[in-house]
Symmetry: C3
Subunit: 216 residues, 3 copies
């Protein structure tokens, strides 16, 4: 398996996984089959479309390569029909979502670096690639975006993106260390889920809500 | 009237129609004149801006050709002043929205094919061009996006986009059959409205809400 | 100080100011440190990313120049730690937001004109650059977008963008008159805040809500 085949495989796996997470969220909101496929599509491909637009790879892969849209649509439709089984597999979905986060962080950061985006920009693009689809999914289904909740999610992607950029800087961006970076994001996210790790919240003086007080 | 004049005319008609739908939604939410024009602008031009970004036609037509922004702004402002009459014409607005859906599906798919996007991608871009503005309008006015509701909306656009792509594949993408494709979307949407056709929803086991149960 | 240094300085000041407005909104919503930085990032750089995409300056400055992302992230993080002081400085934040509106209107319109976008399009892009970040901030924190509320906000940016375009048309787009345009937006917004100026709202027949009446 060549490197580019491996990258494609990693990318399509991430697409399928995020399509499943989007479809599950849409089923839970009682959307119809088309709504489910649409939210699955946005969750799977939204981050990558944004990435391709900012690195000027147009048309974005999601439109240029039929395997992307097809993988997203078929997976989301499958989730629609199979969701009772999926519901029992809730843990599986969370694990798959963590895997997608790791895969997209690595492929997104790599593609940005390949397009000659400077390190800081590539890190931000890699992170946005990984969290963008979930952000779109949450906006569409009117949930508070997972990235804004008190959980280690975006920061896991951030750590992975920094890792890929460092590997690239020392000229060591080969298959094995990159897989390690993806695994790092994956494990970080899983541990955060299990231990309910969360980032600090600013302390607000009780019980006034600060900015929008009565004098607001 | 040449083909490109006809396309421009079809496009501007779609812009006016969607601007009216956006403005009506904004008036109903009691937004001020600028909010009404802004939502009208997003509804009319959002889908096309997205389309132009992904097919690398920059600056997007909405900014490159003053007739687009002007048509959207003038129509939306007119709806602000004339809305009591519009309210009585609710059916008219729905019919016009269906017409816009048909027009944007055809012009969006054609432009993507012209930009050498492969068939599957062109179909998705055509559909997103048609539904994108409405999606933006609904997100801005905090409505559940119409495309996610239990109605034949996105699927009408999808059918039209597939039709245009097939016509293009057999080298038959001329004015008459393309008008037929636009009419097909239009009629499909109207019939769905009248018969209250809707797509199936996944059956959830009562009354647990699946994914977010008490053990969530 | 050369013109381009001055433009960079104006741009980074706008970035810091909008990052602070986004971070303050996120703190008030009790988001964690990463959510605060993320909303700050979107508020500070969202409008500029959109502008760069439509004028085909890719990768957008927000990713191509590390000073942009860093300014946004550091400012937002600082607001997270310093917010109790900020809360007392609510007026300051509103004033800074008005200053950012003026700065982004001028730099956004200028960049669009430099990219050979025609006048009407450049005006719209300048306005969207200025209000885009705040729109993203409000969508993420589930607020009714400020641009849609009954306040002179987008219209202040619109006036400034028209001014810059006129100055450019008569070949008079130098530092001093451009600073005047930024000041005009700033003062217009401040006066609107103080006098509670607002744009007219369409009169709806009491108490029926028009479009979505019982027959809806």
């Amino acid at each position: 398996m060549t490197t580019s085949t491996a990258l494609l495989f990693a990318d399509l796996t991430g697409v399928a996984v995020f399509a499943a997470s989007g479809a599950s969220a849409a089923v839970a909101k009682r959307l119809d089959i088309f709504g489910v496929v649409f939210v699955g599509f946005v969750a799977a491909l939204g981050g990558g479309i944004f990435r391709d637009l900012v690195i000027d790879e147009v048309p974005p892969l999601a439109f240029a390569d039929w395997r992307y849209a097809s993988t997203a649509a078929v997976t989301a439709a499958a989730c629609f029909w199979l969701h009772p089984q999926l519901a029992r597999l809730r843990t599986t979905v969370l694990v798959l979502d963590a895997a997608g986060l790791g895969l997209f962080t690595v492929t997104g950061t790599l593609k940005a670096l390949d397009a000659r985006v400077p390190p800081v920009g590539a890190i931000v693009i890699g992170m946005l690639t990984a969290i963008g689809g979930g952000l779109g999914r949450d906006l569409l289904t009117a949930e508070i975006p997972v990235v804004l909740r008190r959980e280690i999610y975006a920061v896991a992607a951030l750590v992975g993106a920094v890792g890929v950029t460092l590997l690239d800087a020392v000229g060591y961006a080969r298959a094995l260390p990159l897989t390690g970076a993806a695994l790092l994001v994956f494990v970080l996210r899983l541990v955060a889920l299990r231990r309910r790790w969360s980032a600090p919240v600013a302390t607000l003086r009780p019980p006034t809500t600060g900015v929008r007080g009565p004098q607001g």
